[in-house]
Each structure stands twice: as structure tokens, then as C-alpha cells.
């Protein structure tokens, strides 16, 4: 077995174990509800629990990788004289310093983090409207037209104006029927893709951990 084989085997074994454990664990009814089935169900659920906990901690710890990457990339850029990377590093260091010296005072969050993030989200409004106004420039076809029409109907339908009551009725119907149908289809499609790609990853067929 080559080296790629080892990780593929690990993937297969761990994947099978986790999947079985998550799928079948913790439901005594599945084993006929016999006296011993409760113990069996619990035992079956255990490996899934442990692996889940392990991976959750690994994922949480990966923030350290993120910070390492941030520092590596931006220290390098500062060395090349990039001003904004210096701003980023300074802000990072200051926040850590603030939090440590002020014993967990999170008012910095309210003073800086929330306003910037809210303001950025507000900017999205302008970007979205401006982009929405130019849909027909990129997609000058029936689909662009349909898209714009739906956007306008839903926007107008949200207005609390009595004159627009019929538009509101259309908008409600749109939401209840076609939008519901389309959303279901996209969700089903993504779920299907998730299952197929997930199963393939578990079969040890993915490039990412082979070699």
C-alpha cells in the first residue's frame, strides 16, 4: 500500500465508522427494542460522538492556523511596504491587548466592530440596488427580465401602502408557490450533490488527501 493508500484507507475506515454511528446510533428501536438493544445503540453512537468531538476541537483550533497565516502573509506585506497590512496587524494586536488588559471588556466590540460591520452591510444595499439596476446589461434576455420583474414585485409588495395591495397579493403568491418550488429544487439539488460528493469522499476517492 502506497502512501496515498494509507490516507485513503484511513478515510474509508473512519468514514464508514462515523457514518454508521451517526446513522444508526442512539435508536434502540432500530434493533428491535430488545433489552440489549439500548446498550447496543449507545455503543454504536459512541465512536461518532468521540470523532465528532475530536474534529470539532480540531476545527476550532484551526483558528491558530488562520492567525498564523494572517501574520505570515501580512508581516511579509508590511515588509514590502504595504500600509493596510500594517493597519490590520495593528488592529489585531490592539484588540488582543485591550481584551487582555481590560479583562474581557467587550465594549470595543460595540464601539468598533459592530459599527464597521453594520456599515459594511448597509453598503451592500447600495451595491445590490446598483447591481440590480444593471441586470439587463449583463443578461439582456427573458431570464433577466423575469428576474428584474420578480425583484420589483417583491420590493413593492413589501411596502405598507394601501394602493399597492394587489402587488402585495402577487408577491405573497410568488413567495408561497413559485419561490417555494424553486427553493425546494435548489435545496434538493444541493442535498443530492452533497450526498454524492460526500459518499465519494468517504470512499477514499478524493484528491485532497491522496498524496
Amino acid at each position: 500500500m502506497g502512501r496515498a493508500g494509507i490516507s485513503a484507507f484511513v478515510a474509508f475506515a473512519v468514514g464508514l465508522l462515523t457514518l454508521l454511528s451517526l446513522l444508526l446510533g442512539d435508536n434502540p428501536a432500530l434493533f428491535g427494542g430488545q433489552p440489549g438493544s439500548e446498550v447496543l445503540a449507545e455503543r454504536l453512537a459512541l465512536p461518532g460522538d468521540v470523532l465528532l468531538r475530536l474534529v470539532v476541537i480540531v476545527v476550532a483550533l484551526s483558528i491558530v492556523i488562520g492567525i498564523a497565516n494572517l501574520l505570515y502573509v501580512h508581516v511579509g506585506r508590511v515588509a514590502r511596504g504595504k500600509f493596510y497590512s500594517a493597519v490590520l496587524l495593528a488592529s489585531f494586536a490592539f484588540t488582543i491587548y485591550w481584551y487582555v488588559t481590560n479583562r474581557g471588556d467587550s465594549s470595543l466590540l460595540e464601539a468598533a466592530q459592530v459599527p464597521i460591520e453594520s456599515a459594511l452591510a448597509s453598503l451592500l444595499f447600495f451595491s445590490l440596488v446598483y447591481g440590480g439596476a444593471r441586470v439587463m446589461r449583463k443578461r439582456a434576455d427573458i431570464w433577466g427580465l423575469l428576474f428584474v420583474a420578480v425583484v420589483i414585485i417583491v420590493l413593492l409588495g413589501s411596502l405598507p401602502l394601501a394602493e399597492l395591495a394587489p402587488v402585495k397579493a402577487w408577491s405573497d403568491w410568488l413567495m408561497a408557490v413559485p419561490v417555494s418550488a424553486g427553493a425546494r429544487a435548489i435545496l434538493l439539488g444541493i442535498a443530492l450533490g452533497t450526498v454524492v460528493a460526500g459518499v465519494r469522499a468517504m470512499l477514499g476517492q478524493d484528491r485532497s488527501y491522496r498524496g
Binding site: I65, N69, Y72, Y130, K138, A201
Partner: protein, 272 residues
């Protein structure tokens, strides 16, 4: 559906998928039945962009967004990594490595690995850039792209509405973009703002469309089989439901209808 039923169905579904994954590989090898993938808007552009990147010595920007392994987005993240792998391989002749950006730290090793595999030169680590999630990521990437001046943005990953900021930035700076998100809000934004867009599960077959390698196509085949079965099954189910509620529509009639539908489906399948 109670818990046990769901569990049993899930096991059956997974087993059937495993079976299909293997048989699809078998079918793909069979000569003579030439099929083509539906063309995906924008993917044809990738060749042009990679060439442009090589010639103008400007990097491609490949964005994972919030996609992450080790969560429910794992399959999507793998599909994106595979797509980026194919793209980077095409840009391989250039001097300037593509920039990979992501907002999930756990994706950094995967991103570095993708770059290393497909990009045969050094200079990997500083081309994989992480920013903290969502708006911070979108804002910082947009702002730093003003310096990096990428030849194109390929944003395939998990994006919410913050994608609007990135696409707007790309538009302002005059960079072309291809976007697809595995989240619906991001998808809607991508549809309106991106120059080219993939929708929903097209993400899972995009790598197969970019490269001639069979893997993505196998996935597409498996997905197609499942989709057909689901549509058929749901239709039969609905007819049966009707037959139980409408006195006129007996189950014999429903069965006949289902048979006709199946026959039609078979005919269509044959014709293709």
C-alpha cells in the same frame, strides 16, 4: 416519517449511491455512447481568463469564501478545491501564482495543498490568504484586490450576501468574475451581479466540465440517475396520493398513468 424509517431509508440511499459511484465509473469507460455535458455558462471563459492571466502577468483570484471542510459544506468544499485544481493547472504556464482566499481557517491546509499540487513552482504560502469570516473577508479581499489586480475572480464557495461587496468591487475595478455559491442568498446575489454564474449543484460538476478527467463526469452521471429516480418516484407518489383522495382516480388509473410516464421516460432516455 419516524426516526427509524428515516434511518433505514438513509442507509439504503447511501448504499445505492456507493453502488452508483462504482457503476458510473464502469459506464463511463464504455465507448460508443458519447454524451456531452450541458454547457455551463462561464466555464468556457475560464480558458480565456487563464490565458489572460498568463499573458498579462496578473494573478487569478480563486475564492473559497466560507466553504470549509469538517462541516456540512465538506463535499462542496472538495468540489470547489477540485475545480480550482483544474483552473490552476491551466494557469500553470504563467509566472504569477493564483491567489487563493478563504475565510475558514481549516481550509488553509487544503488551499495550500491545492496550490502545491497544481502549481509547480514555489511561492505557495503567501498566495493563500485567510481573512476572518463573512463581511471582514469580503471587505478585506475586495480592498486588497485593488492592489493585486487579478485577471479574473473565480468565486466558488460558500458566500452569503457579502458576495455583493466582492462582486461590486470586482465590477468597479473592471475585473471579470464567475461566481457560484452553495448558499441560496449568495446564489441570488451572484446571479444579479456576477458576469458569469453557475447555479446550485452545477458546482459539483464544474470541475468535470473544466477538465477532461472523468471524475467530475462520474459525479454528474450519478447525480443524473438519482435525479431521474427522484422525479419519477415523487411523481408516482403524488399520483398515488391523488388516487387515495379523488374518488375518480383509482389506484389502477394511477398505476396506468405511472406506467405511461415510465414508458415516456424510457423512450426519452433511449432517444438520448
Amino acid at each position: 416519517m419516524d426516526e427509524t424509517t428515516v434511518q433505514v431509508y438513509s442507509v439504503l440511499f447511501v448504499m445505492a449511491t456507493v453502488l452508483l459511484v462504482f457503476t458510473a465509473r464502469f459506464f463511463q469507460k464504455r465507448p460508443g455512447r458519447r454524451r456531452a455535458q450541458r454547457q455551463l455558462d462561464g466555464l468556457e471563459r475560464i480558458t480565456g481568463w487563464t490565458t489572460q492571466s498568463i499573458e498579462s502577468n496578473r494573478p487569478l483570484h480563486l475564492s473559497f469564501g466560507g466553504a470549509a471542510i469538517g462541516g456540512d459544506k465538506t463535499p462542496a468544499a472538495l468540489a470547489e478545491a477540485e475545480l480550482f485544481h483544474q483552473v490552476i493547472k491551466r494557469a500553470n504556464a504563467g509566472d504569477i501564482a493564483p491567489i487563493l482566499s478563504m475565510s475558514a481557517p481549516v481550509m488553509i491546509p487544503l488551499g495550500q495543498d491545492t496550490l502545491r499540487r497544481a502549481w509547480h513552482k514555489g511561492d505557495g504560502a503567501s498566495r493563500v490568504i485567510w481573512y476572518p469570516p463573512n463581511l471582514a473577508y469580503a471587505g478585506a479581499v475586495t480592498a486588497s484586490m485593488a492592489d493585486d489586480k487579478p485577471a479574473a475572480h473565480i468565486m466558488a464557495g460558500g458566500f452569503g450576501i457579502e458576495l455583493a461587496l466582492m462582486l461590486d468591487g470586482a465590477d468597479r475595478q473592471g475585473h471579470p468574475s464567475l461566481a457560484v455559491s452553495d448558499r441560496l442568498d449568495g446564489q441570488a446575489v451572484a446571479y444579479a451581479l456576477a458576469d458569469h454564474v453557475l447555479i446550485g449543484e452545477e458546482l459539483f460538476v464544474a470541475s468535470g466540465a473544466v477538465s477532461e478527467e472523468g471524475r467530475g463526469r462520474n459525479d454528474a452521471a450519478v447525480l443524473d440517475v438519482w435525479r431521474g429516480l427522484i422525479i419519477l418516484g415523487a411523481t408516482v407518489f403524488l399520483l398515488l396520493e391523488f388516487s387515495s383522495q379523488l374518488p375518480l382516480l383509482t389506484w389502477q388509473l394511477a398505476a396506468a398513468g405511472a406506467a405511461v410516464l415510465i414508458a415516456l421516460g424510457a423512450v426519452m432516455y433511449r432517444r438520448r
